[in-house]
């Protein structure tokens, strides 16, 4: 008879069950499994990771502010998930290709997004905020879990091409309930596709605690599909990077898919349209504030004497610059003209749509004589 898996009772216990390198107070502990993957990470690299996370948080705050000021239709904050996103995305090779969900601001940041890229979609100007080919990141995906299959298909193509690349997909704890995400594991396993699954278990799917999706560790599902997995402290940027390097190395070396569950926390609302006070307690938030990924790395860097106040304020200043550029690009965006509504539906002319465009153009033109 199969072993019964132990349910997870509460979110505090959750993190304790995950692999970790930096404790919440910033001390570094030995991790026999992960340490080998980050031997090259020196103080300068740590500072770079810190800087990334600070900038990301600033971008995220600017996104919220822009939405509150009516400049964006919506924003999906990633506050609290900086370590997961930066740690894993900074482990990628340039040629890897990412299939994200809507919350991966940190991932597109790490892949070189331009300031306007963060907001173009949320402002409602375009369907995709960034150029997928430029970042090697697919458009942010709103349909929960759909992108995981795309990553598997892409990985199948990589394998077919014999390329030294990995496809990576990000998704939430809620997404793990979708058929697509499970099918993605099955297809990936069947084809031994070079794909890495990154589940950001941020404990909530809008108002539903992760226990609605699973009362057991999510990473525990992958092995049943023949996919090795790791459950990692998602607020520990080092552990996230190490785990991701393990997973990427596994996939890159032809051993097939790998799976990471990063246990983290969504500090903000689900989106700017959400009111989390309706469903979650302040103390849960408090507990997680004490596990903040940025504070943690900062404490570590300061403890080892590798971060000065001056460096911190330089970083903050750099972050402000990015936020300013983001705001400027956002406010400067010019909406496409009315007929653009017809653009880009098809790659080749579609007679029905051409006719409609013509009719609509004539209709618009009929106003032109008017005052």
């Amino acid at each position: 008879m199969s072993p019964q898996i132990t349910p997870i009772a509460d979110t505090a216990q959750d993190l304790e069950l995950a692999e970790r390198i930096l404790t919440p107070d910033g001390s570094r502990i030995a991790n026999p499994q992960l340490d080998a993957f980050i031997t090259d990470v020196d103080a300068a690299s740590l500072r770079a990771l810190h800087r990334d996370m600070v900038i990301l948080r600033r971008i995220d705050a600017e996104g919220v502010a822009l939405q509150r000021q009516g400049q964006l239709g919506l924003w999906a904050p990633c506050q609290g998930q900086e370590a997961t996103q930066i740690g894993t995305a900074r482990a990628l090779a340039p040629q890897d290709y990412v299939f994200p969900s809507y919350r991966e601001t940190g991932v597109i940041y790490a892949r070189g997004a331009k300031p306007g890229d963060y907001v173009r979609m949320w402002r409602g100007e375009e369907g995709a905020g960034h150029d997928p080919a430029a970042l090697r990141v697919a458009p942010l995906q709103i349909i929960i879990g759909a992108q995981t299959l795309h990553a598997v298909g892409y990985a199948l193509g990589i394998r077919h091409d014999g390329a030294d690349e990995v496809a990576v997909t990000y998704f939430g704890d809620g997404a793990t309930s979708q058929g697509d995400v499970n099918e993605a594991m099955i297809f990936a396993s069947s084809y031994q596709a070079p794909v890495v699954f990154v589940c950001q278990n941020n404990h909530w799917a809008i108002s539903e605690p992760v226990s609605v999706q699973s009362q057991y560790p999510i990473a525990g599902r992958a092995p049943g599909f023949g996919i090795p997995s790791l459950r990692v402290d998602g607020n520990d940027v080092l552990a996230c990077m190490a785990a991701m390097r393990w997973a990427l190395a596994h996939a890159r070396s032809g051993k097939g898919p790998a799976y990471i569950e990063a246990v983290t926390y969504r500090m903000g609302p689900h989106t700017t349209a959400d009111d989390p006070t309706r469903y979650r307690k302040e103390d849960e938030l408090d507990a997680w504030r004490r596990r903040d990924p940025i504070t943690r790395l900062e404490a570590h860097l300061r403890a080892i004497g590798e971060l000065s106040d001056e460096q911190v304020s330089q970083t903050q200043a750099a972050a402000d610059v990015v936020a300013r550029e983001m705001r400027a690009e956002c406010l400067g965006m010019v909406t496409r003209p009315p007929l653009a509504v017809f653009d880009g539906v098809y790659a080749e002319p579609h007679t029905g749509l051409e006719r409609q465009r013509g009719e609509y153009a004539a209709y618009l033109a009929s106003f032109e004589g008017e005052a």
Partner: protein, 336 residues
């Protein structure tokens, strides 16, 4: 009579249905503590508990498939799909199971499932949050399809849908959730007009404007604007998209001889095509000009900043009215 928003009327309808019949259970994402992202189920968890107001895992096929199983056991599940664009993962369960089980078993198994769908655009939302998928379900035999346009209808027809032994896909125009109207909360369901009837919202003689959902309000505005020009428009709210109440529709067309059908969904093989084909069959000799469609374009729902060029609005309706009446364009003075 009580003044309620459409959203509150729906909530009241759910509450009443749950009080009337303990077999009514709700399933959906975030419908419990949160009360749904639109707060339609607000307060129901408190009143009826977690075994009747069920927050589900995030999987629409799972939700509808689970509802099918509950129906097998004699329950009357009411499913909330969080947004129109998220119904597609459940399409197989809806089309191959919900719609067909009654026929498959010749009525031995009933599927009294109501699938509520916050629906359509005009709220500046992100992609997949403004879809108009109604015709997929209209074309699917075995389903009934309702689209509401006001609080009174919402309250009544939601209760009727839940009480019906047939599966009902129930479309709620999300941009009207906050619109208010009078609702008679105590009107007995038994006295209500059947769920499948259309309603003549405004009588007129020159042309018939047919709409449903949020487009009914636009049609009414058009009728008012046209009145200023001495044109008398009849406005019909279809309310039921399957079946369509063609008696009411045909009676109007026989009177006016001219028809405009409006909806947000795209045009190609949309609901207006069905209505026009049927009208042509039923009233050909009464038609004085070609029935016209005013619809969303045949494009995926566009980004928010462009949606106003996609959605039929007052001007586009009036333009069509001019054309169907063979008049010069009343907006611009140009010839039709």
């Amino acid at each position: 009579m009580t003044e309620l928003t459409l959203g509150k009327a729906l909530g009241a309808g759910l509450r009443q249905a749950m009080r009337d019949d303990e077999k009514v259970v709700l399933l959906g994402e975030d419908i419990g503590k949160l009360g749904g992202v639109f707060r339609i189920t607000d307060g129901l968890l408190d009143e009826f508990g977690a075994s009747r107001v069920i927050d589900t895992p995030l999987a629409e096929s799972g939700i509808v498939g689970t509802a099918v199983g509950l129906a097998f056991r004699g329950y009357r599940p009411v499913v909330e799909i969080q947004f129109d664009g998220f119904v597609y993962p459940a399409f197989d369960q809806i089309v191959a199971q919900v719609a067909k089980l009654h026929y498959r078993t010749q009525g031995r198994v009933k599927m009294p499932i109501t699938i509520r769908i916050p629906w359509a655009g005009g709220i500046g939302a992100a992609e997949h949050h403004s879809e108009s998928p109604e015709v997929y379900f209209v074309h699917t035999a075995g389903l009934r399809v309702i689209a509401v346009s006001n609080p009174e209808d919402a309250y009544r027809s939601l209760r009727q849908a839940i009480a019906s032994d047939d599966p009902v896909i129930f479309f709620e125009p999300k941009r009207l959730y906050h619109h208010k109207g009078e609702v008679d909360l105590d009107a007995p369901l038994a006295d209500a007009a059947p769920m499948g009837l259309a309603r003549v919202v405004r009588s007129g003689t020159d042309a018939t404007l047919i709409a449903y959902g949020a487009m009914v309000a636009t049609a009414l505005q058009a009728a008012e604007a046209a009145e200023d020009e001495g044109i008398s428009l009849e406005v019909i709210d279809l309310r039921s998209l399957s079946p369509v109440d063609y008696d009411t529709v045909a009676a109007s067309v026989r009177k006016t001889g001219r028809v405009v059908v409006a909806h947000e969904a795209s045009r190609e093989a949309g609901m207006a095509a069905e209505v026009i084909a049927s009208i042509t069959e039923l009233c050909f000799e009464y038609l004085e000009s070609a029935p016209l469609r005013v619809t969303g374009h045949d494009v995926p729902y566009p980004p928010a900043k462009l949606e106003k060029y996609h959605l039929p609005d007052l001007d586009r309706l009036l333009d069509a009215v001019d054309r169907v009446l063979d008049r010069p364009n009343s907006l611009t003075g140009a010839d039709a």
